[in-house]
């Protein structure tokens, strides 16, 4: 079956525990995810969703694997745009590996469909989020602090 996939990595000078916390804590997420955040208990089988700053849900699914602070896999479907929702579930895997005093964070997002509008949509968002997350963990402040609501407007 043809597949759409991207793999992004970044090296962050932090510990796997702090990075895991940054990836799963609501208040922390809001700081680098442009006001958006995810809600879940982060255990295998737990429901998961991501919401805009105005509360509307953009993506939803469930946690497939959770091995803190090493690996997190999320079954992920878009809920805000019909043409993206129609593609069904994608899989987002986050891997954290200690590397030379830093942590290598790898994000792999894939769907069994090619081409995929969902993958195009999420592939544009991740680099901004990862740059912001790196800046926040390394310097204490995000590179760009602003929020985006469900209409795509920035504040």
């Amino acid at each position: 079956m043809s597949k759409s996939e991207f793999v992004y990595t970044t090296y962050i000078r932090t510990t796997p525990e702090k990075l895991w916390h940054a990836l799963t804590n609501i208040e922390f997420m809001k700081q680098y995810w442009f006001g958006m955040h995810c809600v879940s208990e982060w255990k295998p089988g737990s429901p998961w969703h991501m919401q805009f700053s105005d509360g509307r849900i953009c993506d939803a699914g469930e946690i497939v694997e959770s091995d803190p602070p090493k690996r997190l896999a999320i079954k992920w479907r878009n809920e805000s745009k019909p043409e993206l929702k129609a593609e069904g579930y994608s899989l987002c895997v986050l891997e954290l590996e200690p590397h030379d005093g830093a942590v290598k964070l790898t994000v792999t997002h894939s769907v069994d469909q090619s081409p995929s509008k969902l993958i195009v949509a999420v592939s544009g968002g991740w680099p901004r989020i990862l740059s912001n997350l790196k800046s926040l963990l390394e310097t204490g402040s995000p590179a760009i602090a602003r929020t985006i609501d469900s209409r795509g407007k920035t504040a």
Partner: protein, 109 residues
């Protein structure tokens, strides 16, 4: 880690390597063999370029069976964007906002 940016700039400072990145931007998950197709340079040279691109983290690889798949990783280039351009974005947006307001006020008069 301080030398990260040096590696990225070095990786980008070569037209063959930028062409490889363009190929991966069009389609991710290519093997070495696929990346060599349509390139007028040797397989050995492509391999050398890929090592530099991987060291700079602008290309990441994933194993699938015996194959090694290559993906473009835009994150380090985005970090550079954030450092030199992103910081000005807010001012630019503010400037556009002020301009729009000034022009609209003119029209109201």
């Amino acid at each position: 880690m301080v030398a990260d940016e040096d590696r990225v700039f070095k990786a980008l400072a070569d037209s063959s390597r930028r062409r490889l990145l363009d190929r991966l931007r069009e389609r991710g998950g290519l093997t070495l063999g696929e990346l060599c197709e349509g390139h007028d340079i040797s397989r050995q040279a492509v391999t050398k370029h890929l090592v530099l691109l991987e060291e700079a983290n602008v290309v990441v690889t994933k194993k699938r069976g015996r194959e090694k798949l290559h993906f473009l990783n835009p994150v380090p280039i985005h970090d550079i964007y954030m450092r030199w351009i992103g910081a000005f974005e807010r001012d630019r947006l503010q400037a556009l906002h002020n301009l729009k307001q000034a022009l609209e006020e003119d029209q109201d008069e």
